[in-house]
């Protein structure tokens, strides 16, 4: 019986979280669900009972009641009290959902160089101020992830990836969500809620994964015809593996850039200076 109840509840709950904020949202949801189901069944049963019990019968006379102020006041108060309880519960959970914890001892060591701290009171950082900061850029119809490690003063030259974000385990990851064209929405259900990528604005969230794994998500705000195929994957790996991946990414990007430069020079030579548009 308990098993059945648990399964039924699980049917009506969101994805189990792999990050503390997603777990806390899940807990908050489940408590709300229990309260909601109690109210739901109470009201539906009252309605059903009234419809069956007071259906028209021979000799029955309808009671000519116009109302009852005490009843009116008490159910108004009861509704308010239940909602007040839900509000208090939300506030109790809020700080653990919004405020990221420090990275764990097994996480990636975050040095000054790749620890970018934003001067923003909206961005929540761990108590020690250290988090792996990744900029998530939404564009029609692909997600780009830019890692710390810019080589040029204007922020260019940083390693990046498309579609798949690789992150180290035990490490608090802070996301800076932006858009380069229309409104998108970042969402990987197991890693917490969704946040819109709005052109001209920064939006922030965070997650922290303990065990290696792959988490799937997709753009959650209509962004055009390719919206359904704008997928996002987060792959959590051991910190050592992450650092190797990041180094490789850097190497491949600089190699590709060098190759592109050569190709551009070749094209320029072929068709004459200034005649080449966008390659």
């Amino acid at each position: 019986m308990g098993h059945l109840l648990h399964n039924t509840l699980a049917f009506f709950t969101p994805a189990k979280g792999a990050s503390p904020n997603a777990k806390d949202i899940d807990t908050l949801y489940e408590i709300t669900l229990v309260i909601a189901l109690i109210i739901f069944f109470a009201v539906e049963i009252a309605l059903g009972y009234a419809l069956i019990k007071f259906r028209k019968r021979k000799g029955a006379v309808a009671a000519q009641i116009h109302g009852n102020t005490r009843l009116e006041v008490s159910w108004t108060a009861a509704a308010a009290v239940i909602l007040l309880g839900l509000a208090i519960l939300t506030f109790a959970k809020l700080s653990s959902i919004q405020n990221p914890p420090n990275s764990g001892p097994g996480g990636t060591v975050l040095g000054e160089q790749n620890n970018l701290i934003y001067a923003s009171n909206e961005r929540k950082l761990p108590p020690n101020g250290k988090a792996l900061e990744i900029t998530v850029i939404g564009r029609q119809y692909i997600w780009q992830f830019v890692y710390p490690g810019a080589t040029e003063p204007d922020g260019l030259g940083a390693p990046y990836s498309y579609e798949e974000m690789v992150v180290p385990t035990h490490t608090t990851v802070s996301l800076n969500i932006v858009s380069s064209d229309v409104v998108h929405s970042w969402w990987v259900p197991e890693l917490g809620g969704k946040f819109q990528a709005v052109p001209g604005y920064h939006n922030y969230t965070w997650f922290k994964v303990e065990k290696p794994g792959v988490f799937r998500g997709q753009c959650a705000f209509l962004c055009g015809r390719g919206h359904a195929r704008m997928i996002a994957t987060v792959k959590a790996v051991e910190p050592a593996e992450f650092e190797a991946w990041l180094a490789n990414q850097k190497k491949e990007i600089s190699e590709a850039n060098a190759a592109a430069q050569v190709a551009r020079a070749k094209l320029k030579a072929q068709s004459g200076a200034g005649a080449v548009g966008n390659p």
Partner: protein, 566 residues
């Protein structure tokens, strides 16, 4: 206006002016009843169009990775569906019902401004035609919310987006003029004795609907005008690269968009508050509480718009404020639900089709109301927002809160409009198909959303049981459509062959039942003095008292009383 001090109900002369005949008479009419019927027929046609779009959406989603329609067509379908149902069906359908019944219920002979009333209708029709004409070129595809920059010329260059803008303008002016007309009519044209405390609850609802429209519509009108000038005249209101802000649109749109939900459901609440007491044979429980909660919901409705923007970059203080204001709005809504159930309590309930639709409304709207509380908790909303959970929520709110009451209204008031009854058998069949169709289609969509499927995607992978759940939802939508079809058949048959209704077939409470069915052009030759919130009950008692007094002597009434005014 009501200057007739009638001592007793009596019929003197009918049809002083001849009722005009032929199709031109419909174009030139300023009679609120004809305009009301044109509203209802037009909006029902749009309901069928919007429903067809919904069925195509469900067919596409009936199987994973389906290729029935292209992403372009899919985006056009849900844009047309949402826009049609809101701007061309629910809001103007409520205006149509208000048009026909509001003057009758308050004992007036027409609306305050009959020609303005006709203009309202023709503007609505023009909006609908402009919008649907885009089918022949290129329909809009940025969703009914049309967020820029996606709806800007750079990303949506087709004229379909402009057709959408003109639809908002034309239906907006139509609703605004209608709202002013309703307000003026209610304020000035009530029968003698109909104080605010005796106003039928449907009239309270239409009054609140009108006030909401008057406050909300100018905001959306401004927003779409800004979008129009952005698209064609070089402004940059929503363009961040030139100092504009896409968030400005979200704020303006939802400042209108949230009250719009109450614009759609409050008249539904009003319909239910009229019908339940008639078939429970009891007065409405807590008349004042229901009227007051209608006004409270309307006021709070203007404080909660940012709960549609919980995932947007907005300050935390706003998140908290809006969560609390959204919680607050659940209180008057809950009060209404309990009042309706208390109205049924200890009654003698007659299970007619209108009553079934009202009971179905309570059962299903409750689900939409409760899922709304989940969405008001902003951290929970971060998971549920923009998924099928929200689609399920809004459909329980609108199917429960607006569509079921509209069907209740059709079955309840058809006899008044045509003089003939609808078939109860077909009516009940229609109810059960629609009721279970809604449940099957939308209950499972909560689970689809919880399993991570966002809305507005034209395809999905079969992760978990998504294929099965979506198939269930698709099957449900066709059951629902069958239910609507049964009512269409019922209406078509009963127009010719329905049982003759007579003036008051339900033994109802409000003044529209005082006149003949269908009512004459001037509605009433004599407007009775209103003595309570249920004037027809008083009139029936008076007639019974007098006739029993005349027939069997003064057995049940004091002797002197029978002589008054006979």
């Amino acid at each position: 206006m009501a200057t007739y001090a009638a001592k007793s109900p009596q019929i003197s002369t009918h049809r002083v002016e001849h009722e005009a005949k032929g199709w031109t008479s419909w174009i030139t009419t300023t009679d609120h009843k004809r305009i009301g019927i044109m509203y209802m027929v037009t909006t029902f046609v749009f309901f069928c169009l919007g429903g067809t779009e919904a069925l195509m959406i469900r067919l596409q989603l009936g199987a994973p990775n389906n290729t029935l329609v292209t992403p372009e067509v899919y985006n056009q379908l849900f844009t047309m569906h949402g826009t049609t149902m809101i701007f061309l069906f629910v809001v103007p359908m409520m205006a149509g019902l208000g048009n026909y019944f509001l003057p009758l219920m308050i004992g007036a002979r027409d609306m305050a401004f009959p020609r303005l009333n006709a203009l309202s209708y023709w503007l609505l029709l023009a909006g609908g035609i402009v919008f649907y004409a885009s089918l022949f070129w290129h329909p809009p595809e940025a969703g009914w919310t049309s967020y820029p920059p996606l709806s800007e010329a750079l990303y949506s260059p087709s004229g379909g987006q402009d057709a959408w803008i003109y639809l908002i303008h034309l239906t907006g002016i139509s609703s605004l003029l209608g709202a002013i007309n309703f307000y003026a009519t209610i304020a000035n044209m009530r029968a003698r004795g109909m104080s605010w405390g005796r106003l039928p609850l449907f009239v309270w609802a239409i009054l609140t609907y009108s006030v909401l429209l008057i406050f909300a519509l100018p905001v959306i009108a401004a927003a779409v005008t800004m979008l129009l000038t952005d698209r064609h005249f070089g402004t940059h209101f929503f363009d961040p690269t030139e100092g504009g802000s896409p968030l400005l649109w979200q704020n303006l749109f939802w400042f209108f968009g949230h009250p719009e939900v109450y614009i759609m459901v409050l008249p539904g609440f009003g319909i239910v508050s009229e019908i339940l007491p008639v078939f429970a044979r009891k007065p409405i429980f807590g008349y004042k509480a229901i009227a007051a909660s209608t006004v409270a919901i309307a006021f709070l409705g203007f404080l909660t718009w940012a709960h549609h923007m919980f995932t947007a970059p907005i300050p935390e203080a706003i998140l908290v404020f809006v969560m609390l204001s959204s919680f607050l709005i659940a209180v008057p809504t809950g009060v209404k639900m309990l009042n309706w159930i208390a109205t049924l309590w200890q009654g003698t309930i007659e299970f007619t089709t209108p009553l079934l639709f009202c009971a179905g409304f309570i059962a299903l709207f409750l689900i939409g109301g409760i899922s709304g509380v989940f969405l008001a908790i902003f951290p929970v909303d971060w998971q549920l927002n923009e998924t099928y959970f929200v689609v399920a929520h809004i459909h329980f709110v609108l199917m429960g809160g607006a569509v079921l009451p509209i069907f209740a209204a059709i079955y309840y008031w058809f006899p008044k409009m045509t003089g003939r009854m609808l078939s109860e058998g077909l009516g009940k069949l229609s109810f059960y198909l629609i009721f279970f169709g809604i449940l099957i289609t939308f209950l499972i969509q909560h689970v689809i959303g919880l399993d991570g499927m966002p809305r507005r995607v034209y395809e999905y992978d079969n992760v978990g049981h998504l294929a099965l759940y979506n198939l269930i939802s698709t099957v449900g939508s066709f059951i629902l459509a069958a239910g609507v079809l049964v009512t269409i058949v019922n209406v078509a048959r009963s127009l010719k062959t329905g049982v003759i209704a007579g003036p008051d077939p339900w033994k109802a409470n409000t003044l529209e039942w005082f006149t003949s069915s269908p009512p004459p052009v001037n509605n009433f030759d004599v407007v009775p003095l209103v003595r309570s919130a249920e004037p027809m009950k008083d009139i029936r008692h008076e007639i019974q008292r007098r006739s029993s007094g005349a027939g069997s002597g003064a057995a049940t009434v004091p002797a002197g009383a029978t002589q008054v005014g006979v």
